[in-house]
Amino acid sequence: MTGEVLLGDEAIGLGAVHAGVSGVYAYPGTPSTEIFEFVERRTPRDQVHAFWSTNEKVAYEEALGMSWAGKRALVCMKHVGLNVAADAFVNSAVTGSNGGLVLTVADDPGMHSSQNEQDSRHYAQFALIPCLEPHDQQECYDMMFEAFDLSERLRLPVMVRLVTRLAHSRAAVRTREPRPQNLLRPAEVARHWTLLPSNARAQYRHLTEKQPELLSLAEESTHNLLELRGRSGAITCGIAENYLRENLPREHDLSILSIRHYPLPVGKIRRLLDHVDEVLVLEDGSPLVESTVRGLFGLAAVRVKGRLSGEVPRTGELDPDIVRQALGLPPLPLAHQPETTLANRPPALCKGCPHVDTFRALNEALSAFDNPRVFSDIGCYTLAALPPLEAIHSCVAMGASIGMAAGAAHSGYSPAVAAIGDSTFAHGGITPLLSAVQQNVSLTLLVLDNDTVGMTGTQRSMSTGDTLDAIILGAGVAKEHLRLIEPVPAKHERNVAVIREELAHNGPSVIVARRSCLEALKRK
């Protein structure tokens, strides 16, 4: 086996570069971050545009603009990032694309580092676009060529869906001859891109009229493989195929349909179902295929097994053990079963982390209140929810801390306190702050400015230092209620005093706790 050992994410990045991509757009988010980082590391800036975007919606729109101009664009995000980008995403299916436009979404079944385990295949189905779901690292690379070609053929964005286990697993990947980038060739017909109702109706009808072509491409796709054998069957989606084959002997009697190219290949599914008495559906995500195949009332002639019928757990990541059990195979013999339950070793804030000093000061400042609650956001500082700090009490969506604190304040709740990092503030915190200032809400916002995106590996932050302060003042926060503290143990008393003063203020105030992330300093 020759080739380069690459993560699934890296294979996506290299595949895109070799397929002639001109711009890669992303906001950091586990498990998708390494796609962008690989491209950034491996290609000169003047060859491929690779600069972090403020959030996923901005990234998507930048990619759409690159596509409009006739060049190939890749936009990458984690599954929940697509919620942020959904407006641009869904409408880009209606406008259609010009240069190849590929969206790679890395889903996180099992929620290794996410708030939910939503399945992005629903989004592809909802937006009426094709979705490719590679089952190994080589296919991650190869499918990028196909995804861009498919996008240019259909004039539609194409989704490539990954899951954590493929995104973060390595294997050797063989590469191909790179394809040159497209020339600048902007879209010519303005009404395709101008979704006034009269144009949008025509475009949406056109999108629905393309669907038979999407379906016939999926039917013919070499990635959707039907192997008819005995009267017991399995349908696998993407990586689930690997867990199935892991548990099968070389010679077996199971009929298998492997799906890696959507929309669902209806003809192949029908041929399988006409052949078998029962079918086990294995998909690493929600029971999308299983529920579609079963329908509202089930099938008369075929028993459909999977997450909905209980053979596979309803939630969580698939693995070879779960599939083994679903196949009815006995567990393998083990060397040893440790008797004691082991102490957990959860992730924790680093020793000397500035967030620790910030939350110690906040906890003390709030100790005068009865059962104080702090709305928080998404980043390393979310770990402050755990002992010993137990300083925050919510984590919902990027930027949600500020809007939720404002809503609580509207209800009469006091003190309304929000905590957010500098990069999350740029991502989703600016608009709710503007709203709170315009409404003159009594809320205290703590911005933990550590000059980086810490949790995902110290990427560049968009709003730190002077830029951050200017944005806060620009949103209308009064100069005397923008306070700066340095979260170090020596300044604890002063920091507590500053927080207390701002908690007492009747109106919006912002405290910036500014000290660089230690991990980021190490890497500089």
Partner: protein, 255 residues
């Protein structure tokens, strides 16, 4: 041929460097490989694990199924126990005995060691001692790969070539320290096994290995030491009770 390995440790201990060494040795040997790792939330001081599989045929799952692990390589003793349930009946555990205590409820290190030592197919090495002697405490990960290397399917030279490649960008001094940690780990692991196979209790074998200056450790001296201990078992405790280290070259117990 197929080998399924679980790499374990704590975020920051260099599990992914261990993976890099074995991945690339497998690639150089023309084998197929898959290696799943953990990024993101678990990085900072949390439990970190990687599933590494190589074979001369196609590998399907990125994850090692429960009961199919041939080898656990752990840079930390408690973390070795965490994945023990994945091990096949014929499987081996290679573990550092140096605890990384960053949680309030870390069990007594002696108890962890006792549990590991009670397992027949185990290689225990004092990676902190070996890495320090090699020149940098951070090289514990390479010491543990060295200790595991006889259980891998590559020559010492094949593995060291990748170690050199991995650290090349950091300069020759860092390369030397890591290569030394690897060789110290390999010798200590081999010596430990020969002492245990020769009849010493694993905890005694470990303590005897720790008694030797790492640069003198030579697995071929195991027979000499075993003979000395068999002749006068009571003298072993006297040697272990003395201060400082001794050379492994001269199998001699104190009078």
């Amino acid at each position: 041929m197929e080998k399924n390995i679980i790499l374990a440790g704590v975020g920051g201990q260099g599990i992914l460097s261990v993976a890099y060494v074995i991945d690339n040795a497998a690639l150089d040997a023309g084998l197929q490989l898959k290696q799943a790792e953990v990024h993101g939330m678990a990085q900072r001081g949390g439990a970190v694990q990687s599933h590494l599989r190589y074979a001369d045929h196609e590998i399907h799952s990125d994850l090692v199924p429960t009961g199919r692990a041939d080898l656990i390589i752990s840079v930390e003793p408690l973390e070795a126990l965490r994945y023990w349930h994945l091990l096949a009946p014929t499987g081996w555990v290679v573990a550092s005995i140096t605890p990384y205590v960053n949680i309030p409820d870390y069990p007594p290190p002696d108890r962890v060691l006792e549990e590991l030592a009670s397992f027949g197919q185990v290689v225990l090495v004092d990676t902190a001692q070996l890495a320090r002697a090699a020149g940098n405490l951070r090289a514990q990960n390479m010491a543990v790969v060295g200790a595991a290397s006889p259980l891998l399917d590559f020559s010492q030279e094949q593995l060291l070539k990748v170690v050199r490649q991995l650290f090349a960008a950091k300069g020759s001094k860092v390369v030397d320290v890591n290569c030394r940690a690897f060789t110290y780990g390999r010798s200590a692991g081999l010596l430990f096994r020969r002492l245990v196979d020769g009849g010493l209790h694993p905890q005694q074998a470990l303590r005897l290995c720790q008694k030797f200056a790492p640069e003198t450790v030579d697995p071929d001296r195991a027979e000499g030491w075993l003979d000395a201990v068999r002749a006068r078992p009571e003298a072993l405790e006297r040697l272990l009770a003395t201060e400082g280290v001794v050379s492994c070259d001269q199998p001699a117990l104190p009078a």
